[in-house]
C-alpha cells in the first residue's frame, strides 16, 4: 500500500494519524460515490415493505398471511367486499342471482377479462379453481364451503352455477380474492398445484402482473394495462421489499426508502402519525385475516377452570381498557360481544359482559373456596374438584409476539391473588401443545372473524371443532344449543333471521364465558404522503396514486 511507505518519515505520533486518514480516505470516497439518498424520486412506483419472503405466490393453496399479502394484487375473486358493510361488489362476476332459498347461486361473468399472458378468462377457470384447488388446498374455504359440498358447473363460457343440497348462507362473503382467488386453468390443469412452477411466476387477472423476484429481497410487479376496471391501476409498478425487522421497516419509511408499511409497531404509531410526510391508516384487515378479536381461552376440560364462577372472577379482575391503551396504543376497541363489530349484521351491540371490578372478583374467589393466604396468594379450601391447599396458579400460553398481553394479564390477575405462569411458545409449538395435546390452563388467540361468522366465529364454539385443528375451539366449549343455532344460521339466507340467531348464540356464550373477549385490534398501516388513494382490502394498491 502506498500509504504505509510514505509514513516512514516523520515523528511517531504524526505518522500514525496521517496513515489513518490516508488509509480511510479512499474508502470514504468510494462509499460516498453512492451517497445520494433514495428519497421520494420514484415517480409512479410504489415501494412497500413486507416482513418475510412469501415463498410461492399462489393464494389459492394456502391461507398464509405472507403469501396473501404479497400476491392478492395479482388476482381477482368473483366479487369484492364493500369495506363498510361487507356486501358483495361485482369483480370477475358482473352480477348474480340466488335461488331456491340459497340452494342455487348463478354468477354471470365479465366477458372482457384476460389473463396476464393474454389468454381469455372463462367460466372453466372458475370451476377448475374451486374444484381442483380452493376446495382442496385453501384451508378456510375447504373447511367452510367444502363442508357444504357444492356442485359447481359452467353453464356456458361466462356463467357458473353453485348448487347446494341445503341452503348455504355465507357464499357471497367467501368469494373475494382472499377467500377464493381465481387461478388460470390453462396453466394448472393436469399439474400438482402445490408444486407447479407457475406459483413462482404467477399469472392472474389482477391490477398488477408479476415481473420478477429475488429470494428474500424483493418482488416486482408492473401495472396490468389491460385490466378490466376502467382507468386502473394508476401506478406504474409496485415493488415489495423484504425487511424482517419492524424497527428497520419504520426507519426505511421515514428515510423515504419505502412508501407503505402493512403494520406499524404499537410504540411507533404516535410518533409516525406526527411526522409531516407520513400518514397512518387504520384498518380491520390484516395479513392474517380481518376483524380480529384478541381472545383468552379457558381450558374447560378440567378443574379449576370448568367452574364458571372462577372464569367470571377472572373477567372481573381484568381491566380490558388497559389492554387497548397499553398493548394496542389505542389501535382498536374493547370487545363488546363475542362476534366482532366489523360484521355489523351479526355483532350483538346490547350485551352485558362482566365489568372490571376487583372487589367483586375477590368476593367470588372467596365464595368458591379460593382463600387468600398471608402473602396474598390464594389456596384451595373446599374447592370442588381441587385438593385442599392447592394454590391458585394457572398457565398462560402465548406467542412471543403477544408477550405484552401476557405481562398485563399476569399483573392484573396477581392483584386479586391469582398466579399466572407465562409459557412463551413459537406458533408451531403453540399449536401442538394447545390444540393437539390440550395441555394448558389459559391461552391467548387472535380470532380473525373474517367477513361472515361461518368463516371465523363458528370454529371457536362448535363442539365438532375441539382439537386437533389449529385455532379452532380453544376452550373445548361444548353446548348442543349453540351447535344447533350455528347450523341453522349457516343454512338460512334470510339476513334478519341470521341476525336473530347470531344474537341468540352470543347471549348464550356471554353467560357461559368460555373465553375472555379482550380487544378488537385494528391494523395500523402507514404511507408516505406522496402516495394516496389506498384501498383497505388485499387490493390496497389497485386505486393508489404516487407523485414526485
Amino acid at each position: 500500500m502506498p500509504t504505509s511507505r510514505s509514513s516512514r518519515s516523520g515523528s511517531a505520533d504524526h505518522r500514525g494519524r496521517s496513515a489513518w486518514i490516508r488509509r480511510f480516505a479512499p474508502l470514504g470516497a468510494l462509499v460516498c460515490l453512492a451517497c445520494v439518498r433514495g428519497g421520494d424520486d420514484r415517480g409512479r412506483i410504489l415501494v412497500v415493505a413486507i416482513d418475510s419472503d412469501p415463498g410461492h405466490l399462489n393464494p389459492g393453496i394456502t391461507t398464509s398471511g405472507g403469501t396473501h399479502t404479497a400476491a392478492e394484487l395479482l388476482y381477482n375473486g368473483l366479487v369484492e367486499l364493500d369495506p363498510l358493510d361487507l356486501s358483495p361488489v361485482p369483480e370477475l362476476a358482473e352480477r348474480w342471482t340466488v335461488d331456491d332459498e340459497g340452494r342455487r347461486y348463478t354468477f354471470y361473468l365479465r366477458e372482457d377479462v384476460r389473463w396476464h399472458d393474454g389468454e381469455p378468462f372463462s367460466a372453466h377457470d372458475v370451476v377448475y379453481s374451486f374444484t381442483e384447488v380452493l376446495l382442496r388446498f385453501h384451508a378456510r374455504t375447504r373447511a367452510s364451503l367444502g363442508a357444504a359440498s357444492p356442485e359447481i358447473v359452467a353453464l356456458d363460457e361466462h356463467t357458473v352455477e353453485f348448487r347446494f343440497s341445503d341452503p348455504y348462507a355465507p357464499l357471497l362473503q367467501q368469494l373475494n380474492v382472499t377467500e377464493a382467488p381465481i387461478l388460470p386453468r390453462h396453466l394448472y390443469e393436469g399439474t400438482d398445484p402445490l408444486r407447479n412452477p407457475v406459483n413462482f411466476a404467477p399469472v392472474g387477472t389482477g391490477p398488477f402482473r408479476f415481473v420478477s423476484s429475488r429470494s428474500d429481497e424483493e418482488l416486482r410487479y408492473a401495472a396490468n394495462r389491460a385490466y378490466f376496471k376502467e382507468g386502473l391501476p394508476e401506478l406504474d409498478a409496485v415493488i415489495y421489499r423484504v425487511i424482517p425487522d419492524p424497527g428497520s421497516q419504520v426507519l426505511a419509511l421515514e428515510a423515504g426508502e419505502v412508501d407503505w408499511l402493512f403494520a406499524v409497531p404499537g410504540p411507533d404509531i404516535e410518533r409516525v402519525a406526527r411526522l409531516p410526510n407520513l400518514e397512518i391508516l387504520r384498518s380491520p384487515i390484516g395479513p392474517g385475516g380481518s376483524n380480529c378479536v384478541t381472545t383468552i381461552g379457558f381450558n374447560l376440560d378440567a378443574a379449576p377452570l370448568d367452574d364458571r364462577r372462577l372464569r367470571e372472577a377472572i373477567w372481573h379482575a381484568l381491566d380490558r381498557d388497559a389492554f387497548l391503551e397499553r398493548v394496542l396504543f389505542g389501535g382498536g376497541r374493547v370487545a363488546r360481544a363475542p362476534i366482532a363489530s366489523g360484521i355489523p349484521f351479526a355483532h350483538h351491540d346490547g350485551l352485558e359482559l362482566p365489568r372490571h371490578d376487583r372487589a367483586r372478583a375477590r368476593a367470588l374467589l372467596a365464595e368458591i373456596g379460593w382463600v387468600a393466604e398471608g402473602d396474598g396468594r390464594r389456596v384451595a379450601r373446599g374447592v370442588a374438584g381441587t385438593a385442599d391447599g392447592t394454590s391458585l396458579s394457572l398457565s398462560f400460553h402465548h406467542f412471543p409476539s403477544q408477550s405484552a398481553y401476557a405481562e398485563l394479564v399476569r399483573a392484573q390477575l396477581a392483584s386479586v391473588g391469582i398466579e399466572i405462569r407465562l409459557v412463551t411458545l413459537e406458533p408451531p409449538v403453540f399449536v401442538e401443545v394447545v390444540f393437539r395435546e390440550r395441555d394448558f390452563d389459559t391461552a391467548i388467540v387472535s380470532y380473525c372473524n373474517g367477513t361472515d361468522p361461518e368463516i371465523g366465529v363458528r370454529r371457536q364454539y362448535d363442539s365438532a371443532m375441539i382439537g386437533p385443528v389449529p385455532f379452532s375451539n380453544t376452550a373445548g366449549y361444548s353446548n348442543a344449543a349453540v351447535d344447533s343455532l350455528f347450523h341453522r344460521a349457516g343454512t338460512t339466507v334470510d339476513p334478519g333471521e341470521r341476525t336473530r340467531l347470531y344474537r341468540q348464540i352470543q347471549e348464550i356464550v356471554a353467560r357461559d364465558l368460555p373465553y375472555v373477549w379482550l380487544v378488537e385490534s385494528l391494523n395500523a398501516r402507514a404511507h408516505r404522503t406522496r402516495c394516496s388513494g389506498f384501498g383497505p382490502s388485499g387490493h390496497f394498491a389497485e386505486t393508489a396514486r404516487c407523485e414526485g
Binding site: 415463498g55 394456502t62 384451508a139
Partner: protein, 321 residues
Amino acid sequence: MKVGYVGRRLLQVVPTVLGILLVGFALVHIAPGDPVLALAGEHGDAEYYEFMRDRFGLDEALPARTLTYLSRVLRGDLGVSYVQGRPVRDVIAARVPATLLLTGTALVLSTLVGLLLGALAARQPHGGRDAVITMATLGLFAAPVFWIGQLAIVVAAFHLGWFPVQGMRSAVESAAGLPATLDVLHHLALPAFVLASQEVAAVSRLTRQGLLTELGSPHVRTARAKGLSETRVLVRHALRRALLPVVTVVGSRVGHLLAGTVVVEVVFAWPGLGRLLITSVQARDMPIILGTFFLVAISVVVANLLTDLAYRAIDPRIRYE
C-alpha cells in the same frame, strides 16, 4: 506426501459432515412443533391437516425418515422445501452469494483492521493508545451485535444519511455495470462493518501479544541493529511469525461469522442464508434447516482444513506427515 495428507483430511470431512447432519436431523425432529401449519396456513379442518401431512411424508416413523433422508443426501438430493415447494438446493443456492459477500467482506475487514490495531497497540504497549484500542475492541466484542447494528442504522444510515437503511440494492435499480456494483457496495458497507466489529478484538489481541513476544526476540534485535526502520522491523520480521495464532482464529472465526450473520442479516434486511435459516426454523421447514446445516458444516470443516494448510505456507518448519 502433502497430497496424501490433504486426501486423508478430505476423507475425514465425509463422516464429520454426516455425523453433524444426523445430530441435526435428530434435534430438529425431537423439537416440538408441526410444520403443517406453516405449510397450509391456519383455519383448516382436521381432515385437511391429515391430508397435507400425508402428502409431505410427515407421518412416517422417525428412523424410516432418517434413513430416507440420509440416503437422499448421499445421492446429492437435499429434498424439497415444505413451505416453498422448491428444491432445497435451489432455495439455498439463491442465498449463498449474499451471505458469502457479507461474511467474506467482514472476514477480510476484521482481519485487516485487527492486524492494524494490534500492531498499533504493540508499538507502545501499556500506553494510552494501547488502552484505547483494547477497550474499544473488547467493547465491540462484548456488545450484542443486533444492538450495534441498530445503533449503526439509526446513526450512520438514518440521521447522517451516509448509508441506506436496509437491503442489498436500491429499490429502483441503478443500471447494470459499475453503478449497480457501487450500489451493492454502498449497501454492504454498514452490515459488513457491524459484523466485522465483533471479530476485531480476537485478531488485534492476538497480534499485539504475538508482536510483543517477537519484538523481544534476538532476530528482531538483529534487524534493528542492521538499521532497519521500525515499521520494516515490525512488518517484515516480527509480524510474520506473530501471524500463526492469528491464522488459527481466522479459521475458527468462519463459524463465528456465520452465526453472527444470522442476526446482522435480519437487522439490515440482507437477503442471505441467516435469514433463510431463521424463517425456516420458525416454520419448521425441516428440509431447508437441514440443508443449511449441511452447508455450514461443510464450510466450517473446510475452513479448518484450509487453516491447517495455511500454517505451512507461513511457517516452513511445520510439516504434515
